[in-house]
Symmetry: C2
């Protein structure tokens, strides 16, 4: 059966942008050594490189406003006949606006997350893939 991907995705989006907008360093537990971030085309891998990028973005205040959020389960095939399929993960696709510092002009963005369950705790998801883009008008 697929996981409750709508519930997982909805909770993740709320949690992620709340942390991002209040305490970016607190995002660290969501990433792992194999996590990948592509931020405006620039690639990062692992907790420290990703957190360094996110915490050194050139603004002091940021507020994300989510306009759309879509979720899908990722249901892998069995690896071999008779073997159980790997656990399902969740794709998250967000679009919205960013208010940066005291600029009156919101920036449009879209972002993709691929959330994987922790093998030791299938109720706990981490960010395996993260891709962020500003959408210029």
């Amino acid at each position: 059966a697929p996981p409750d991907y709508q519930g997982i995705g909805t909770a993740f989006v709320s949690h992620y942008y709340n942390l991002f907008d209040t305490s970016r360093a607190s995002l660290a537990p969501l990433y792992r050594p194999t996590s990948l971030l592509t931020f405006e085309g620039e690639p990062f891998m692992g907790v420290d490189p990703i957190l360094t990028k996110l915490t050194t973005l050139p603004f002091a205040k940021v507020v994300h406003q989510v306009t759309t959020s879509d979720f899908q389960p990722v249901m892998p095939d069995p690896v071999a006949p008779g073997m159980p399929a790997p656990p399902a993960s969740v794709l998250v696709f967000v679009s919205g606006s960013l208010m940066v510092d005291d600029s009156p002009n919101p920036l449009k963005f879209s972002q993709v997350f691929h959330l994987s369950p922790d093998p030791a705790n299938p109720m706990s998801y981490w960010v395996r893939n993260d891709m962020f883009r500003l959408n210029y008008a």
Copy 2:
């Protein structure tokens, strides 16, 4: 080792939008019975529902112009100690503009694809996940 995700993704994006803009029905071989499409928030599963949606969109002519395309490998964990990891797949994240019929006003869009290798032919990828959104100004 990760697949050549940049090459696979680049070839896919070119192939996909070329087919979409010239012969939407020709996209059918890219989807499978378990493929998921979320189009402007509306969910579809399987080749026929997805193709019906794509081929009945209310325009006769469409041209996609890709502005940004980002690619990441999805490297699954082994299912059990000593077992090989499932084959890697590829995440594709596109933003761009749509020119519809003879409208002079391009529409901004962003789209996510999750491409999985065919177990019987690991050089052949199919669309496991597809999420499309127009980005209104």
